[in-house]
Amino acid sequence: MSAIETFRAETRAWLEANCPESLRGPAAAGELVWGGSSVEFATEDQRLWFERMRDKGWFCPDWPTAYGGGGLSPEEDAVLQQELKRLKCRPPQINLGIWMLGPVLLEFGTEEQKQRLLTPMARGEVRWCQGFSEPNAGSDLANIRTAAVDAGDHFVVNGSKIWTSYGDKSDWMYCLVRTDNSSGKKQEGISLVVLDMHAEGVEARPIDLISGKSTFCEVFFDNVKVPKENLIGPLNGGWTLAKRLLQHERSAMSKFGEFSLPTHFDLMSILGDYLPQAETPSDIALRARAQAAALDEHAYNLTVQRMGQQARAGQDVSGIAAIMKLVHSEQEKQKFELLVDVMGHRALGWDGDEFSEQELAISKAWLLSYTQTIAGGSSEVQLNVIAKRVLNLPDAPKGGAK
């Protein structure tokens, strides 16, 4: 047996022995464990699985053991991922720091920073949030105004961030700040810092959305002191690091999505509940519209599969990858619009006993679907990217996306 086969056998055995049965298979919303200083476990199994994986260093299996990682080779890491998937093990924790900041710190951080920041991160002791978007920036990410002013051994940060997921529950933030206003090009003069969310002058307020309470926060900085050793990478060189971070966002999001039970509402089955027999012409026409949407969703799922096959065959998938977020978010919105047509006022409930739990969940998901075509790169930005990078259409003399 080769070394890697041995590793596979051992890993499989360890997982089978150590991953509690109750944590195999997808988790319902709210049942995932978020690592951090105030980590909470809903069950004893969750605690066990968290601690066992932590102690193996397998929160970050491919990081060096020096920083709390598992020290696995890429081949071993791949085997571990396969075995986790085979057993349908849930991730022992969700941690944006590990998935997004971690790789950038490994690449760009100083030795001191790696020691100080990576080790507790790898032990799941710190909950991280992201401070990129700002109220005035929108799709124009580089339009950063939150200022970090040099004050000798520290920066003084003033400004605000928006769309910070779980900003009110996080321990630390990695954050883009403006450290130089003199350049005409706004991508210059931006720096990446990490800051303590418990520091004086930091306030995180959850944002109310059209769908109600949300996990997004607006975060305000009022003369927040950030020690200079918390600058990551070069001063004014943050834009490059930010782009690198965002490259990790997609895979982080997909990891998150893979393990949470999808709150997927199946159009045709709900249609079957509310419109069991389409008898009138308008019901028949409505059903046909729904069928078309369901077929389109099928075409999208086939495209996900095809992208995977092309990638494995070593073919360029940039043209397909560029459509995925756009298509998925627009199809979801379209699907909920159809559900509202089908369900009538049953999909227009806000709260109260008059509507079933599923009906209220659909109303909320419908309203939230409007967020999905805006957040994480609006549909307009996606279309611009396709036009320019995939179709090679010429740049307008000036301008870009909403």
């Binding site: 978007s133 109220p135 920036a137 929108g138 799709s139 124009d140 339009n143 928006i162 769309w163 944002i207 109310d208 959305l209 059209i210 769908s211 509310y274 009138t280 012409p281 308008s282 019901d283 026409a285 409505l286 919105k333 619009e337 509202v340 047509d341 369900m343 009538g344 006022h345 049953r346 227009l348 409930g349 806000w350 709260d351 109260g352 006993d353 008059e354 509507f355 109303s363 309203l367 409007y370 967020t371 075509t373 805006i374 957040a375 609006s378 549909s379 307009e380 279309l383 000036k398 301008g399 870009g400 996306a401 909403k402």
Partner: protein, 377 residues
Amino acid sequence: MSLIYNEEQRMLLDTAQEFFAERSPVASLRALRDSGDELGFEPAVWQEMTELGWSAIPFPESLGGLEFGYTGMGAVFESAGRHLSASPLLSSIVLCGSILELGGSEAQQSRWLAELIAGSKRLALAVDEGARHDPARISLSAVRTDTGFQLDGDKVMVVDGLQADGWIVAARTGEADDALSLFIVPAGTPGVELKRQNLIDSRNTARLCLQHVQVGPEQLIGELDRGAQVLEQALDRGRACIAAELQGACEALFQTTLEYLRTRVQFDVPIGSFQALQHRAAWMHVELELARSSLMAALDAIDSGSDQAPRLVSLAKWKVGQMADKVSSESIQMHGGIGVTDELDVGLYFKRIRVLQALLGDADYHLERAASLLDAA
């Protein structure tokens, strides 16, 4: 056919715009919502509306009305739509008032109509039973008894049903599709139960549950089994007024969106200079103009007593509804991140628009109705 407001109607429109802007702006709706107000409108505002005579607009002079017609009523609804102003004008005046005007006995009219117009009493119409509007499938039953009628069944989406002084209930009294009868059920009648249906638009919407409810023969409106025609005529007036409210709401939302496009700067230019957004905004303008024409035709057809009124009302509710779906969706998207927060009013417009779209028949319903009325012609 007149498709524009005449001078008097235009004056009314201006007055109404000013009134709602001052007395019932969007902030009022937000306050009602945040306080969880069950009534869903401000009684003082409603009182002022009645003093301005708006509750008397559609009725003949003989019944204490102003005979100003539904085009005038449309002007008021349009203005209310612009500011998302809530009042029982639709439920108590247009719907229940019309039924009493068209089908009520003198006794019923004298008992109720003056008080409805004065705002001292309110009635609410109970029609819908299923998830979507479909008066042909009413199943709430009214059975003759020794002393009158017994009503059993549930109604949903009763607009302004909570805290009303009574309800006009459409009940099935025979097997034929249109064998419907209309009954007044005064508040306080035993066996009546109300439940709040808290919809996304935060208005007063109720489920009305009737269990062995006894009403006297004097509560029957018009003849037994012959209520469908009066009901449909009243519903059509309501649908046209809803279309007017939708049109007003969409025009206001569109103006807000245009203003955002003109002033919001990204990538160093106003986002309204991006051609893709310009073209989409231009299409919204197109839809608003087409919807406006359909709306005016419907209001005019009601006022002129045209036999085309039902078809034109369905055309209007369909076209305005199509437009409204598009304008409300696009407005959120064009506002970007801030558009999905509760901080802006965009979401409030969106939610009210979507409820109005569903109310008394959504676009699908009225497409089929308009088409079948054309086939029948």
